[in-house]
């Protein structure tokens, strides 16, 4: 489905990605783990077009996409969330989710004028679907409030709802559990698990080991911009060397 080969990136001489390979397949959930600053977010940014790699190739569905602008990658089917929620703070939750539709007819003035009826119908349909996703993350009742009124964890759930509305076959989640507390933990878990079961190709950056064990099929371990190990979750978690890398750099 999504496969990257040899991705490399330097920021001002510092190597943050060195020859990275990654393969995501439909119906499988891959965990991307590693200590802070390992380059996990940078890898996501390269896959989604927000950081231009110095070298390497990315293909999606058999199509080379490394030169595609970010918004087009989303349109071919790569959805993502951000480490911070990054909601649109002047919009209501409902609008946040509605604007995330993959084919958003209202984006073109031409459509608004010449395909007015179609846009209206699409809006109605999008409203229903958006409310559905807000319901799934347990926030349908707050559809009309501004995102700034929510807790951090709730904001991340809206971020997830946006990505789901975007309806990519491939979903990249950047630390979905970080900052999520209380009841929202279970909601987050349930939604991600449901998406995995629905057969999407998913990659999750996460520090929460319980969550990874629970949901992911395999894992890739990054350290200092390199992939140092990959395989089953249990093997990676059992590896003392990786534990030392992980916790060593935390201390």
């Amino acid at each position: 489905m999504l496969s990257a080969r040899g991705l490399t990136k330097k920021f001002g001489g510092v190597v943050v990605a060195q020859d990275l390979d990654l393969d995501l397949e439909l119906g499988r959930v891959v965990a991307l783990i590693g200590p802070n600053g390992a380059g996990k977010t940078t890898l996501f940014n390269m896959l989604t077009g927000f950081v231009r790699p110095d070298g390497g190739t990315i293909s999606f569905d058999g199509r080379r996409i490394e030169n595609m602008p970010a918004h087009q990658r989303a349109r071919v089917g790569i959805a993502r969330t951000w480490q911070r929620p990054r909601l649109f703070e002047s919009l209501t939750l409902l609008d946040n989710v509605m604007v995330s539709e993959r084919d958003y007819l209202g984006e073109s003035i031409g459509n608004l004028i010449f395909r007015h009826g179609e846009v209206e119908r699409a809006e109605d349909d999008a409203r229903d679907r958006a409310l559905g996703f807000l319901d799934r993350v347990g926030l349908a009742a707050r559809a009309d409030s501004l995102s700034t009124r929510l807790s951090y964890g709730q904001q991340k759930l809206v971020g997830l709802a946006r990505a789901l509305m975007n309806d990519g076959r491939c979903i990249l989640l950047d630390e979905p559990m970080a900052g999520v507390e209380g009841r929202t933990i279970e909601t987050m878990k349930a939604v991600v698990r449901a998406e995995a079961e629905a057969g999407k190709a998913i990659c999750i950056v996460e520090h929460n080991i319980g969550f990874i064990r629970d949901i992911c099929d395999s894992a890739v371990f990054m350290f200092n911009g390199r992939i140092v190990a990959s395989g089953s979750i249990d093997d990676l978690l059992a590896d003392k060397r990786l534990g030392a890398l992980y916790f060593g750099s935390h201390a």
Partner: protein, 305 residues
């Protein structure tokens, strides 16, 4: 006296068009260009020349002026995709001054002495009444059009884009297309205003379209409150009418003209320091500081994560 009030009404209407169009770019698009007067000029000269030299019927010539202004806006909107902040301000200023400089130096546009003999759109005794009605009808249509645009699905997308352009792109939205479109719409409106100006006042000079007129228009937008529909409308009316009040003092022209300039500048500066949030926009949406801290806000909050 009535004639004077009608002329004021026409000028105010044209400024409402200009400021509302500028607001599409500055307020809704979040692009800090200063070049709006040049699109006004392009519309004015194009329509005047097409009708004078080629005999194009006036309504068609005016639309052509608006269309050419919209097309010319790519000259600033495409660069705005690469540079922002100070550099966009200076680049747009270079664009504006460059084109005004050309107008100032070629025969076709009458060079520095100005273009006269422009065809009048309406003749007869009720000329000003009719023209004021036309201008304000167009204003009403444009304002309603803008309101329609910024409240529906398009408005949702514009707001999202201004809030977080990257998150916006990550959801498949094309920020570039929206910016270029907003620029073209705002500039097209300016072009139309220019065409309307020419066929009423019948005379154009290049120095109407300089940097001071940029500052004036910017003030109209921000005084009222950027990124609101009514802000630029009220700002434009206010700043057109207030400086004219001293006309009633019946001073000689040699004193009146500079005094008006002084008063206007003072008014602008007063607004900047006393009412930076705009008269009608809340601090959250509009006003002079709508663009403040762009760029740093996000890097402080944690960059591209």
């Amino acid at each position: 006296m009535t004639e004077f009030f009608l002329t004021m009404a026409i000028l105010a209407g044209l400024n409402v068009l200009l400021a509302s169009g500028f607001n599409m770019i500055l307020g809704y698009g979040g692009l800090v260009s200063v070049a709006q007067p040049v699109f006004y000029a392009i519309g004015a000269y194009t329509s005047a020349l097409l009708s004078m030299k080629l005999g194009v019927p006036l309504p068609l010539a005016m639309l052509a002026g608006a269309a050419l202004a919209a097309i010319a806006s790519f000259g600033v909107s495409l660069p705005s995709l690469r540079v922002s902040g100070d550099y966009l301000v200076i680049a747009s200023m270079g664009f504006q001054l460059g084109i005004v400089h050309v107008i100032n130096n070629i025969e076709l546009t009458g060079a520095a002495s100005g273009l006269s003999g422009i065809l009048s759109a309406v003749e007869g005794p009720g000329r000003s009444w009719i023209y004021a009605a036309i201008v304000w009808t167009i204003c009403a249509v444009v304002i309603l059009g803008i309101r329609w645009l910024v409240t529906g699905p398009y408005g949702r997308a514009i707001t999202a884009m201004r809030n977080d352009e990257e998150a916006f792109a990550s959801l498949g939205r094309d920020a570039m297309r929206i910016k270029v479109t907003l620029f073209a719409v705002g500039s097209g409106i300016a072009g139309l205003a220019g065409a309307l100006y020419g066929h009423y006042f019948l005379f154009l000079t290049p120095d109407q379209f300089g940097i001071f007129s940029s500052a004036t228009l910017l003030t109209m937008v921000v005084v009222g409150g950027a990124a609101t529909v009514r802000g630029p409308v009220l700002g434009a009316i206010l700043l057109t009418v207030l400086p004219e009040a001293i006309r009633f003092l019946q001073l000689p022209v040699s004193i009146m003209a500079p005094l008006q300039g002084v008063l206007f500048s003072a008014l602008v500066i007063l607004f900047i320091f006393l009412k930076p949030e705009g008269l009608f926009g809340g601090t959250a949406v509009g006003g002079l500081e709508a663009w403040q801290g762009r760029g740093t806000a996000r890097s402080k909050a944690g960059g591209r994560v």
